[in-house]
């Protein structure tokens, strides 16, 4: 089996676009929450989200015409282009048939869906526009990336909700490890939308303005959006072209709670962690940092910490949630987690959990890297992802040995 490394990072987020800006955002503990602009918030008590306000697709994209694609595909394509540039990957010098794309998502082209719904409400089904209908299919997210890069290998969109980017990274890792591909672009994308905002509010799990994971007074998520992409390649391929690997993918695991569509299950999540460790060839003691799923809901954070304790016992490494900064970017969340994990390993720091004020005693005293990033040697990171449908996916990254 070939070793698989990360050589490029492409974040399109509310705290920064591009690897440098994103890393600065993480280190500074930048908060990406802002008043919602993408839909009419009249009548909603909570009106904040982690929207991407600064993106100018035309300045990033080289091939894709954003007018013909939904916003989530545009996020994915911009993220992919940024990742490829960050990797200094010359697409003209590689076998494009051995370049594959795999993108994760929760809602796919949700803005397109909203526009179509507005059309059918206003004028009936017969007046839905074919142009929008052609943009709706969820496979368009990976296709947008393939189109932007001109890749000719596989192009797959995995729609496994809020852990989808970890599924994508895992699949990319497998394709490279087995020799089916030389380079893979993996990540995720989603767009802020009205129905998801309403849905989480209705469940009582939407925060008012700030997402405060692990805090005693946490009240829920902030919905958020963006695109996260990583360039993965075999170590051999990276070294041959003179690229510097940032980190290595050591292994991953997936499982399903098969219990409840919405509520997470600690025992099942713990089982997923153990499986990920076994596949990555690590023990809990080897993990220097856990990039948490950390949505900021009372339930998730409690269950996640319980699961961590079941596996790590007394020796729990620092656990922080970048959702405190980004909000919950849905299908892109683990992709941003993977980017943050890679930066932590490469540059030796722990991203913070910001907005934290009050200890929650039920969490039993974890180190959530409260409020300020911390310099630290980071050799192995566990990136958590859980989702509706009990779709758990955990990836382990390590420094390149």
């Amino acid at each position: 089996m070939r070793r698989v490394v990360i050589t490029g990072l492409g974040p399109v987020s509310s705290i920064g676009i591009g690897a440098t800006a994103f890393e600065t955002g993480l280190r500074e503990g930048r908060c990406g929450s802002s008043p919602i602009a993408s839909f009419d918030t009249e009548g909603f008590p909570h009106i904040y989200a982690g929207e991407v306000n600064e993106l100018r697709p035309a300045e990033i994209l080289e091939r894709l015409d954003p007018r013909n694609w939904g916003l989530s595909a545009v996020f994915a394509a911009c993220a992919a282009r940024l990742a490829v540039r960050d990797a200094s990957l010359d697409l003209g010098a590689i076998d494009l048939q051995r370049l594959g794309v795999v993108i994760g998502t929760t809602c796919g082209e949700s803005r397109v869906l909203e526009k179509l719904t507005e059309e059918l409400r206003a004028h009936g089904f017969e007046r839905m526009s074919p142009e929008l209908l052609r943009q709706l299919a969820t496979d368009r997210l990976a296709y947008g990336v393939s189109e932007e890069l001109g890749s000719c290998g596989e192009s797959i969109t995995l729609s496994t909700a809020c852990s989808a980017s970890n599924y994508a990274i895992g699949y990319a890792y497998d394709q490279l490890a087995t020799g089916n591909a030389d380079v893979m672009v993996a990540g995720g994308a989603d767009s802020v939308c009205r129905w998801v905002h309403a849905g989480f509010f209705r469940l009582g799990t939407l925060a008012k303005q700030l997402c405060i994971p692990f805090d005693r007074d946490r009240s829920g998520i902030l919905t958020a959006e963006g695109g996260a992409a990583l360039v993965l390649e075999t170590l051999e391929h990276a070294l041959a072209r003179g690229a510097t690997p940032y980190a290595e993918v050591l292994g991953y695991a997936l499982n399903c709670d098969a219990d409840h569509m919405v509520a997470p299950n600690a025992t099942s999540i713990a089982a997923c962690m153990r499986l990920a460790h076994a596949r990555a060839g690590v023990s809990p003691a080897d993990i220097d940092y856990i990039c948490a799923h950390g949505t900021g809901t009372p339930t998730n954070d409690y269950v996640e910490v319980q699961a961590i304790r079941q596996v790590f016992g007394e020796r729990v490494p620092p656990v922080s949630s970048i959702k405190s900064m980004l909000g919950h970017t849905m299908g892109a969340a683990c992709g941003f987690g993977a980017i943050a994990s890679t930066m932590a390993i490469r540059d030796g720091f722990l991203p913070p959990t910001i907005n934290w004020k009050n200890e929650d005693p039920s969490l039993g005293g974890i180190d959530m890297v409260a409020n300020a990033a911390r310099t630290s040697e980071v050799k192995k990171v566990q990136n958590n992802g859980f989702a509706f449908g009990g779709n758990n996916a955990i990836v382990v990254f390590g420094a390149v040995a």
Binding site: E126, R134, L136, T138, S146, C152, L158, S159, W195, C256
Partner: protein, 365 residues
């Protein structure tokens, strides 16, 4: 990829509920039935290919079925048949390594759209029905099916429209090759609702032969070793699957790309062109006119070798993500008497965005 055995399968379509219904209709060459769905007024002026008498509560009982949307219900019924057929033992010693890999177009257009409508039409925009929220996520069907049958292994929802089934199979092949799972219930699903029907109608232009349909096929895939070890019958083997993307600037290369996929599949399976007994394509009408990606692609790779084309669209309609699964179901239900012991079928698929793919299947009747 290692060869995958199908140890059981289920199907639901306009031809009926279950393998037997499909086999009977196929072999009697009964004409496809046109069905309407209530309320008729919401559907476009086209014949529909709806599943006859589909009532999930009658089929699976009332418990755990009342909040399901149509695509989740179809998935669950089809999965129930596949699980029963495959004789898998599902208990605490096995369930952690038995999973689901399900292809979709965009989840449920209707569920997401209805939910969005509630945010506009209710007195307050947040007075949405919380019980319906899980239906708005694309992985709902796979998640609900896992809960019902206690499947705790990999749970994947793979997008892809006409290629969704081939993608789901590729995903499963990877999971099994890597040893992450022992058996994966693999398939794809599409529901017929005003949303999908109008979507198909509006994009079909002037072509009256495109009929909105629905259905699902679910296939229990496992390694041949495991299947044999447990004394399970193997109904078919999936020998290889390959998919490929053609950027818009190179759409004229799609036939060649498909030919390359087929060639790769044959190579991976150690086969020759002449070994293929029958072909099931996704774009039948243009194929029969001697046009389109699949006709030109297969011409390049299969040349003049004789093979039979098994048609599916007239019977099933246009089923988007479910097409691929129904192509395989049609292959398995076809009358193979007069062919080799274990005839080989080639499935191909193409979509308007530049994706092409193929799979080779050995039928074991």
């Amino acid at each position: 990829m290692k060869r995958l055995g199908i140890s059981g399968w289920g199907v639901v379509s306009a031809a009926g509920i279950g393998r037997l219904a499909l086999t009977q209709r196929t072999q009697s060459q009964a004409a496809a039935a046109s069905r309407s769905l209530e309320p008729a007024g919401e559907y476009p002026p086209r014949e529909l290919r709806a599943i006859p008498d589909f009532d999930v509560r009658k089929l699976l009982g009332r418990k755990g079925t009342s909040q399901l949307d149509r695509r989740s219900a179809i998935t669950m019924v089809t999965s129930a048949e596949a699980l029963e057929h495959s004789n898998q033992l599902i208990d605490d010693s096995t369930r952690a390594r038995i999973g689901i890999s399900l292809g979709t177009t965009c989840g449920s257009f209707k569920s997401m759209s209805d939910y969005t409508r509630q945010t506009f039409e209710e007195r307050k925009p947040y007075l949405v029905d919380p019980g319906q929220f899980p239906n708005t996520v694309l992985n709902c069907a796979a998640g609900q099916t896992a809960i019902r049958f206690g499947l705790k292994g990999v749970n994947a929802t793979v997008a892809g429209g006409p290629l969704a089934f081939l993608n789901a199979v590729s995903y499963t092949a990877n999971q099994l090759d890597r040893g992450y799972a022992d058996a994966v219930l693999t398939g794809s699903v599409e529901e017929l609702t005003p949303h999908t029907a109008w979507s198909i109608h509006l994009c079909a232009g002037d072509d009256p032969t495109i009929l909105p349909g629905e259905g699902a096929g679910m296939f229990m895939l496992e390694s041949l070793d495991r299947l044999n070890r447990h004394g399970r019958r193997c109904y078919a083997e999936i020998l290889s699957v390959t998919t490929r993307f053609c950027p818009a600037s190179e759409l004229e290369k799609m036939p060649a790309a498909l030919a390359a996929c087929v060639a790769r599949c044959l190579l991976d399976a150690n086969l020759e062109q002449r070994d293929i007994a029958c072909v099931i394509v996704s774009e039948e009408k243009s194929f029969d006119r001697g046009e389109g990606v699949e006709f030109r692609g297969l011409e390049q790779v299969l040349g003049t070798y004789h093979y039979e084309r098994i048609g599916v669209k007239p019977r099933f309609g246009e089923c988007q993500a479910a097409n691929g699964a129904l192509q395989l179901a049609a292959l398995l239900c076809a009358d193979h008497s007069g062919r080799d012991d274990k005839p080989l079928g080639l499935l191909t698929a193409t979509d308007r965005d530049g994706y092409v793919g193929a799979a080779v299947v050995r039928v074991c009747p």
